[in-house]
Symmetry: C3
Subunit: 266 residues, 3 copies
């Protein structure tokens, strides 16, 4: 059982993981703290991502497992694909599950194919980042108790956002959602969810935008604002204490989702 | 409960932590090895410090907890303060206590203010390093059963030593100590404690000094020599086996003090 | 008890470690998963080696212990020997066993001498890598139930292979083995074991070689092919599924051998 793309999971799988995540969120730690005892996770990161690797590490620790952090892998001079294959097979000798962050779309699919242990894609270049998608959906689902029929506005650097691509794939495929896309935000239309992303200057994007008092005044009281983080200036700090600000909740949900996923897969 | 500056702790706090540290030092491992089970410490290091991060990691492991090592954080192009704030808030979603080593004085105070979990300052630039101060005091206290009335000689690069600044702050504030400062050591006056530090060439200091046979011959038999490490040539290796050499004892005490501190805070 | 060179172990020691490794390989995890509870291993790596450090980490976790990963040590401007000595003594204050990967032959022997806790050499420059030797021998022993009298062909960059040097040392000293050495492989003579190694271009070697269909056709059915990894093109991927390909088995054996070694030493 691997998780390379969000499309590897059907609706029933997703609901099962959400149910587990909800349980973990409610339960006391000692209830689940020995569930993955004696299991080892390898955090195989070809590019740094403190947020994602820490979230997986904490998820594994919460379930009583161990973590091998591997941050010093670099694509060496040998053919890239080969190297990844042997590294993944090597890690499979030592651990029970591999979490892979890599630099090129398709790496995770390739790695999953050759791996002898379950593999979770933690972002492969501009490919997918399915656990981010799961935690995004979970955050929306927890708030509205449904996904269907919601109006979701994506704002920011949509073209370069792996996160938004994956999320839209699910929303489009399985749900009757209205979604709007906007780059240089002038007005944000009334929505249930505002999903903002960072302008990725490192990928050649220009421009910037920022949530203003006017935007906020026009947002419905029951709406939520999400962001996959890190943020630049899109969301000013003064908004953090607004009840509609759900990005820290979203990050926290990442922990429950990854715990659910790990215990479901192992 | 945070520990940003040694002045966050009053005398009663310090004595409580010392008592705990003494207990840990005497007890057998199994007595305390489950005390922080299910707790996670994030070792958030913006600059490397093998000694300090390893000491905190070992302290947490000894108490049965887990550790997320984060060595790959770098101040990115975004406004520094913002970045630190979001990183600290993020880690607060995943862990129970944050140990922060940062590059600028004041970072730890700022981080503690925004953190949702307890934060321990493990050195913020030329600011403070309060757990070092605690282990220094503990080492002196264990030897002499008191702090008051001792004669302490500080030698070396005093101006640039965060360690000495913090230690003097406590000695000055709370105790009736004589202390002397000397840079290019010619004679070391008779003292109870000789606290030597490294000449920090990376901060522009010049000159060097070294403990000689003559110095050692003039040191009282019951005195102790301390050093926060790493050392350059200040203390030659031949002195390591002298009963007055207390710097490895001091390092070992760092473990007990950090265990005490973690269990006291959590 | 240290393991600096394979010659630190006599035949009886090696057999004892092999017996333990065999036991671990057969047993269920819960049988040994608390054996090194409350013990801490420091993975002190002065140069990166994902494979070796992960293998030791997994071995320690499997036995219920903890691991401090130290990848950020670099030889600083201070005299190298001094620095290593103090670092090793420092880590001895925090952990129960040190695994050292260093850059210069002789570092491990020096470190073991000053260390206050057991030290295992995980490769010291072009010196030795005794746990690799143990897992190599174990792999051969498991297959043939003996070492003596086997014909072993070493191929590849023999002069630069620390692995082969150490292995030959044992085979030569203790066993009546025929071994052959060959660099630019034309024909591989009939053998029990084919031990291939990488051409280490980073050490100035030139040339390359690759196992061909013809080689493989001439290999006895009961022979095995080994490789310490990483590999370049010496062994093409299509051979991986051949029953004679034993390099992943060999890697897996590294885990059992290191578990055996750690529990034997501690």
């Amino acid at each position: 059982m691997n998780l390379v793309s969000i499309t590897d999971f059907n609706e029933r799988d997703i609901i099962a993981v959400f149910q587990l995540a909800k349980d973990y969120k409610k339960q006391q730690k000692h209830k689940y703290s020995r569930k993955l005892r004696n299991k080892i996770l390898a955090n195989l990161f070809y590019e740094p991502s403190t947020r994602t690797s820490s979230s997986f590490a904490a998820a594994m620790y919460n379930l009583g497992g161990s973590v091998i952090p591997i941050n010093d892998v670099t694509y060496s001079s040998v053919t890239k694909g080969e190297n990844l294959e042997d590294t993944v097979k090597t890690m499979g000798c030592f651990c029970d599950v591999i979490v892979l962050r890599s630099q090129n779309a398709g790496d995770a699919a390739f790695a999953a194919e050759v791996s002898t242990v379950p593999l979770i894609n933690a972002g492969d270049g501009n490919g997918e980042h399915p656990t981010q998608t799961l935690l995004d959906l979970f955050t929306i689902y927890e708030k509205f108790k449904k996904i269907e029929g919601l109006t979701i506005t994506f704002a920011g650097d949509i073209e370069n956002s792996r996160t938004i691509h994956s999320l839209k794939k699910v929303l489009h495929a399985k749900n009757n959602c209205n979604y709007l896309e906007t780059y240089d935000v002038e007005t944000l239309p009334p929505s249930d969810v505002y999903y903002l992303t960072r302008v990725q200057r490192e990928r050649g994007s220009t421009g910037s935008y920022q949530l203003t008092k006017e935007h906020v005044d026009n947002m419905p009281k029951e709406s939520i604002v999400m962001h996959p983080f890190p943020r630049n200036d899109e969301i000013p700090k003064w908004f953090d204490s607004d009840p509609r600000a759900h990005y820290f909740e979203q990050m926290q949900n990442g922990l429950w989702i990854r715990m659910a996923l790990l215990s479901w897969i192992l």
